[in-house]
Every structure is written in structure tokens, then in C-alpha cells.
Symmetry: C2
Subunit: 314 residues, 2 copies
Amino acid sequence: MKQRILDCTLRDGGLVNRFRFSDEFVRALYKANLEAGIDYMEFGYKSSEDQFDRESFGKWKFCREEDIRDIVGDHHTPMKISVMADVGRTDYRKDIIDRKDSVIDMIRIATYGNTIDEALEMTEYCAEKGYETSVNIMAISNNTREELSDILDKLGRSPADAIYLVDSYGSFYPEQIRSLAAFYVEKTAGTGKQIGIHAHNNQQLAFANTIEAVNSGISLIDVTVNGMGRGAGNCSTEQLLGYFREREEELPILEFIEKYMLPLKKDGVVWGYDIPYLLTGQGRRHPSSAIQFMQEKKTAYSKLYYSLQMGMKA
Amino acid sequence: MKQRILDCTLRDGGLVNRFRFSDEFVRALYKANLEAGIDYMEFGYKSSEDQFDRESFGKWKFCREEDIRDIVGDHHTPMKISVMADVGRTDYRKDIIDRKDSVIDMIRIATYGNTIDEALEMTEYCAEKGYETSVNIMAISNNTREELSDILDKLGRSPADAIYLVDSYGSFYPEQIRSLAAFYVEKTAGTGKQIGIHAHNNQQLAFANTIEAVNSGISLIDVTVNGMGRGAGNCSTEQLLGYFREREEELPILEFIEKYMLPLKKDGVVWGYDIPYLLTGQGRRHPSSAIQFMQEKKTAYSKLYYSLQMGMKA
């Protein structure tokens, strides 16, 4: 299947700064992605405004139609627009309108293995509304191969256009990613589903795992500019473009980093590989304890290591 | 062959701080490596004191016998001691004494492809003196497969105990490392040579490339604590130990990082992945221009990108 790149800087990066990006930042990112030949740009989450206070977050946690249109105008471009909708955190029957009236092209539905039936319901709803859909199964290091097999069978029969292999904890090694990627591809063979990869950089393996997945038949590829994303962040756009695109396409991304990402970092927004994330990745644990450890500016790595083994607070 | 881990923190890390480590740092590293079950600890270079001013560098650029003994005392431990000797920069006939009188176990000879004959002369000399030897062929991205084949043939007939696959520019992708590793192993089959891997982190692939090399039959593995090394640094000890050793062995390394590496960083010693190294890695270029760019605190990544393409100064 044709390889497609999806930029989720605002969505995964938004987890770092509560989605508070300036309009100028978002416009410049849109322009840089267009120039770099990115296939999809994800603007953020479609979160329930009943469940989450609009004042406590930037607008990209909610991705109202009018907010996206403010950035993209008529949007006569080849780049498609996606948003993510978490199972249980989206008023999808209210907030996801007919695609013909929407600026959004694709809804990505994020779910854990045990909420797959709700995810399927959302997928059917969104597909009926006319959207491309993907289902992103999170935290699969907690699922057995048998559970995963059942989930993929269900998704194979669903209207989802794409299914994502997600390394939520940044815990997988390349050989595991190759094996999982081959499993996703094989299980969905003949269904026409595109398989995607969303990697995290806890063990500095996001880029390696992404290209190994691509070489194992995965063709929908998540990246973020400068790797911006929760905790250790993601596979970076500039790494991937250097690997398999014409080198020229990397330039607008480099210029964006210089002009927009460096000021963000200077203002104290922090992400990227560090020892605490390595430890949660090695322990197959959610990065939340590492994120807290970093926020509290702790450095007692050995204590964090023990606490992860014992299930205690660092 | 039995997997062996070689710590070269002082040697590759010494390139970052001109080998100016405190004795306390070196003693603590020695202790941490012992506790972590590291097989070899490299103390630095055996550089010519005629060519290099002893006052301009810390003592680990020269690795005098008495300086190592000051740290290790009687050294009745299972961990072996290595030093690196660069072709053309070592007075080996003067400075490398009989092994029976030396605290050193292994001499690692670093060479470019075009100085392989000098490297072989040094290898024979050191082997006759009783040392274990390795030959580390640098910058092989500049060599054709045929040239590499000839070099490996020569090394297969030499007394070298080990031969290193070195990714000097951090430019190789995992699939290239797998192919090269298989080539090194196959070319030296039956000679009893151990094959080693020395990776650099320019594209955040040092760890991934190291474990891919190991899974392709390479068994002598270079690491540095916290990845300390020139430019983007190396595969880190803590990453590797998490991957394939008992988890307990990671603890002394984590404690060393907290107590000794963090203060070093706080004092302004800088290494680790950043965009400029990615660009030299993608361009298969020596990291020197990236190092200078970083030292001058420049951020015009697009200019560096152009300059690398044009062979100009950034």
C-alpha cells in the first residue's frame, strides 16, 4: 500500500503543553507540513466539552470545526486533516457532523483492547458519516497474542480504513515490532486495511521501530516535528524524511523547528528521551510516573527503578 | 561466541571533555562497571606524548601504566582493561610494554581502511607482546564492499582477536547494520575472530543498531554510561543492560549517572542527540561540522543542511 505520513505534533505534542499552541504556530506547522509533502495533519483531540473544561485547555483538545477553518481557510490542498477521538471521552454523536459539512477527513479512534466494542461502534458511526477512520489500539503490551488476534479479527470485519500498531509505553524492541507488524499485516490480509505505526521514544527506539515497521509492511506512519509528544516523545518528522523521502522535503521542517520549536522549548515546554522514560519503557509501564518524576526535577533514578519494580511511588 | 560488553566512557567520552575526568569519577566508574558485570573497561587512548602536549589533555589521552594502577590498584577482578591506540598517533614500540608487566589486557587499534597495513603491523606487535587485540575499522561508509572484503580477509589472517564494525558517522540504518554485521561474521567464519560493534547516536539509532548487530551474530559490544561520547554519543550502558542482562545489573550504572554524570553535565560538558548530528548522519559526514555548529550555539539548521550538501561552512 502507498506509504503515507501523518503528522500528529499538535495532538501528541498537545499532551505536553495542554494544547496551548498559538495560531501562528499552527498556521506555520500547516504550511511546513504542506511543503514537506505530509499526507495527513492531525489537529488534536475531539474531546467532550461536557467532560473537559474548555478554559483549562487550548482549543486543540476540542478541535471545533470553526477553529480548524480559522487556520486552513478553504483548504484546497492534497493534505488531509485528522482528529483523534478517545473512546469514552468524545460526544461523537453530537460533535462529529457529516463529513460533507466538515473540514475533517479522518477520525482516528483511540481505544484500549477491552473497549474495542465501543471503538467499533464509533468507527461505524464515523464511517456512516462519510469519514475515513482508523482504530488505534493502545497499550497492547498488556494484551496476549490471542486477545490481539480477536481484536484484529473484529477490526478486519469493521469499516475502519486503517488499524494502528501503537507502542504506548515505548517498551517494544525492533524484533518485537517486526513480529507485531507482520502479525497485523497477516491478520488483516485481504481486508484492504492499511496498517499504521505510532511509536514512542522511551528507549530511543521510536525512529528505529518505525522504519522496521515500515520494512515489515506497515504503510501509515505517525511522526511529530522534533519528536514532540508525551514524555519521551515520538518518531520525529525530520528523522523519517531523511530516511525515505527526497531530502529536499526535510527543509521546511528544519526551518519550522528553528523558528517555532526552539522558542517553545525556551519557554519551558519539555519533552524527549531521558533516563526516567527509559526505566518505564524497560518496565513496560505507563510513562506517568516518569513524567511526574521529571516535573518534580528528581534525579534519584535508582529509587524510581525500585519503585517501578515494587509498584511504589518514587 | 560469548557476549561481552566493553565500556568506553572514558575513551569516547574523553573526546568531549579533553579527557579531564577526576580520579574520583574514574574510580567510581570502575566500581560501577565491576558491579554491573561489564567485561572490559577502556581507560582512554595510548597517544604519543611526542605528538600531543600532556598539559593540554587529561591523563586518559595517554593512559600511562602508573595512572591506571593509581585507580585499579592490584586489579584482582574479572573485568579486563583496554586502551585504544590510533594508527599514526601512538609510539607503540616505546609505550606498549610486555603484557606481563602491564595492567592492560587488550589493545584496540583504530584505523581507517587505507591504513590497514600499519594497523596490522601494530596488531602483530601487540599480539607478540602478549595482549588481546582488536582492530576497529573506522568510517567504513566511505569504503566499497569490495574494499571492506579485502580488509576483512587481511584481518582474518592476522593475530587480531576481535574486529570491529564501527559506524563512525552514525549514518547507518538498522537494515544496513544487519547486512554489514552478517558480512563481517561470514567473512571471518572459521578464523575464531570475535566481531564487535561500536555505534554512534547521530540519528538516535545507536541502541537499535547495537541490538540489531547482536542479533546478527556480533558479540563484543561497546557502550558508554549515559551514552557519553563525541557529538551525539554512543549506545548507552543502561539501555543495553535493560535489553539483555539481569535487570539488577543496571542499578550501579543508574547510581553512577545520578552521582557523577549529572554534575558533569551541569558543569557544561555537552553530548547527545540533536538536530545538527542528525543532519551529518543523514549526509554520511563526519560530525565535526555539527560539533562546531553546536559549540557556536547556532540554530540555523537549514543553513547547516545546505552547507553539508554543498561542502561549505555553515
